[in-house]
Amino acid sequence: MNGSGSGGFLGSFIEYFRSLFRAASALGRAIQTGLTYLFSTSEAKKEITELYPDPVSSRTPDELPTRSRGLLHNDILKCTGCYACSKVCPSDCFKIQTEEGPKPGKLWVSVFEINDAKCLFCGLCVEVCEPGSLVHTRNYEGSSETLEKLRAEFGRGPISREMREKWKRQRELQTEGGFEGQP
């Protein structure tokens, strides 16, 4: 920094008070913003949170707002195993494993695990999901006694060695028969 050598003690003294002033003015602005919520009666400043819905006495999941983001669900039959959700996830909550499926170019999603304990419910994965297989449900009751129970598994399961061999032969036959590139 330019001023560190030139100012010496006086410079750091001035910088100390400058930083105090900056902190105080930032705090003042923050309080000012908060006070507008305290005193304003306009619609835009009304409460934007809702009480936690009590499923017994008040709301059912169907009555929640339309864009509510509940626990994630993946329709594995639609899922292409493209990893787009995993790449965009800020909290690294997806664990995906894919293998080649019975048809050429089509992946078999053997493991598709969502760790709800890590999920931020930001909705980015749903936004980027091209086949539309990943959706937010309306289910918000995700509490569990152990972290293990918070792992939701949607994968189609591992493939046996025999199945792998069989699909390989199928793909070869389909490719020879002119089906290359077809899903």
């Binding site: 105090l20 705090l27 309080i31 006070l35 409460e47």
Partner: protein, 337 residues
């Protein structure tokens, strides 16, 4: 002390507590209501109109939450350890015009000593329990208290130099009832000292935004994590009372105390019950205003970690208090005839 004097003192203490309890209740409600409104949340709204019964509902809820089969680690020690310094603090807290130890030298410091003893009591409880987690939580509480004591002492010295003494009577003599005659507004340095004293109180009693984590408090209170029922209520309640006492000290030291217009104090009714009640009401109103201000501040800031609280105390509060003291003193000495 004769028996009748002791009786009179006890009655005065009971009256003080009776006056303060509604104030503490109001402060608890205001804190949650203001916090919710500031953060655009639905605040307490179910228990009573505008949620004014919520502190009572919280009290009942906490009361029921006790770990099954456990009586805690401290037994009756908790009640005495928190209760005795609180009793002493209450006994010498300046509420209204009637004040014990009004003319005693250093009576201001006595109040500070009682506040410190209350704030540091956690260490006794934790050492009895012998649990590592409880001891660590108590050390954190003590360290936070220590971070508040030094700047508070500097701020009190600023008042002491101006009043030329540290008795409540001398402090009262340098202030009037109108805001511009309050010590806090007598100079920019005095104002800085007043703000430092308010912030030091938040540190000393682990009040938001400098509060310990809930789990840490529970380790201290009960010797185990989790809810601790009536013991937790007692500790939180006594902490609120102690912080309220600290705010009353702030009012008395920096914001005119219980000073009333001279028209009232010089008349024949000066010592009458309505005038005393008015002075008490004025003190409580000032204290509640300061507490509402600190509530707004603490709800605006994110929770401060223990290390950040220490940094704030030693790098901001203490230097500012020291600078205000030295510069204030230099200017007053230089300006003296």
């Amino acid at each position: 002390m004769s028996l009748s004097a002791l009786w009179q003192q006890s009655l005065q203490l009971a009256a003080t507590l009776l006056v303060m309890l509604p104030g503490v209740y109001l402060q608890a409600w205001l804190d949650s209501k203001l916090g919710a409104d500031l953060q655009a949340r639905v605040g307490p709204s179910r228990a009573g109109s505008a949620g004014w019964l919520q502190p009572m509902a919280d009290f009942l809820r906490l009361w029921q939450k006790v770990r099954p089969g456990s009586k805690g680690e401290h037994g009756s020690a908790l009640w005495w350890a928190q209760g005795a310094p609180l009793f002493a603090l209450l006994a010498i807290t300046p509420v209204g015009a009637g004040l014990p130890l009004l003319t005693a030298p250093m009576s201001v410091l006595m109040s500070l000593m009682m506040a410190i003893s209350f704030a540091w009591i956690g260490i006794i409880l934790s050492w009895r329990s012998g649990l590592v987690e409880a001891r660590l939580a108590s050390i954190r509480q003590m360290a936070l208290g220590a971070a508040g004591i030094f700047p508070a002492l500097l701020a009190i010295l600023q008042v002491g130099f101006s009043a030329q003494g540290l008795s409540w009577q001398k402090v009262d003599q340098i202030q009037g009832w109108v805001p511009w005659s309050w010590f806090a507004f007598s100079s920019p340095f005095a104002f800085v000292s007043a703000m430092v004293f308010v912030a030091a109180g938040l540190l000393l009693f682990s009040s938001p935004p400098f509060h310990l984590g809930s789990e840490a408090v529970r380790w201290i209170v009960a010797g185990f994590p989790g809810e601790a029922g009536i013991r937790l209520i007692w500790v939180r309640f006594s902490q609120r009372i102690a912080h309220f006492c600290w705010t009353l000290l702030t009012v008395r030291l920096f914001f005119g105390g219980a000073a009333l217009p001279s028209l009232l104090t010089s008349s024949a009714d000066a010592g009458s019950a309505p005038v005393i009640a008015l002075s008490i009401a004025l003190t409580l109103l000032k204290a509640l205003t300061i507490l509402a201000g600190t509530s707004i501040l603490s709800r605006t800031l994110p929770s401060v970690r223990a290390d950040q609280a220490h940094e704030f105390s030693w790098r901001v509060l203490s230097p500012l208090a020291l600078l205000a003291l030295v510069l204030g003193r230099l200017i007053s000495v230089g300006g003296a005839p």
